[in-house]
Amino acid sequence: MVLAEGVEATEFQELSEKYMISGVPDTVINDSAGRVVGAVPEQNMLAELMRALGK
């Protein structure tokens, strides 16, 4: 149900450009339905998942 990919930005340039990645880590959720820039506490990630995907 969940596919979680760590993506090395310099090797996957088209992807980095597609999502306009500048600072890392940068987490893209469902093709930009959600986004978390930076390393954040689990609570923040959960909040963004809920917002992006609906509760």
Partner: protein, 148 residues
């Protein structure tokens, strides 16, 4: 061929891997085309997986094993590393992938992913577990990182 991992790091990893509880299957998907880091990734994973009996490594060519690449959702993403649980002949995919060579700071990610899958537990909060269990549609998380 010269080793990628320095001896002192090898010693540290071997020790860290003493804690590995359950077997892990690492599947590396490589490509003959357009993959500058495929060979180095392969060598790195070979050196790391040698350091514990709990880690098995298999290497697959994207073109030759297209069906397998599709099954693991890694098509066109070489080098792609799948971290899966192994119980006898049974492989369980947790949906965990690393795309690219896990070098520099990301080397720790490689080691942590192996420990995570071996431990068979996400270590996440009850709330997160409940939320994820209740999901009815697929979720795709792409965490962009750099080695430096």
């Amino acid at each position: 061929m010269e080793k990628l991992l320095p001896e002192d790091i090898v010693g540290q990893i071997r020790e860290v891997f003493q804690q590995l509880k359950n077997p892990v299957q690492v599947l590396l998907f490589v490509s003959q085309e357009n993959c500058d880091y495929c060979e180095s990734t392969r060598q790195l994973l070979e050196e790391v997986s040698e350091l514990s009996d709990q880690i098995s490594l298999s290497v697959h060519d994207m073109a030759e094993e297209a069906d397998l690449a599709k099954l693991y959702r890694v098509e066109g993403k070489a080098p792609a590393i799948v971290f899966a649980a192994k119980e006898g002949d049974q492989i369980t995919d947790y949906g965990i992938r690393y795309l690219g060579i896990p070098s520099g700071h990301e080397f720790t990610t490689l080691i942590q992913d192996l420990i995570l899958v071996s431990g068979r537990d996400s270590g996440l909060s009850e709330q997160m577990r409940t939320y994820v269990k209740a999901l009815t549609k697929p979720v795709h998380l792409q965490v962009f990182v750099t080695p430096t």
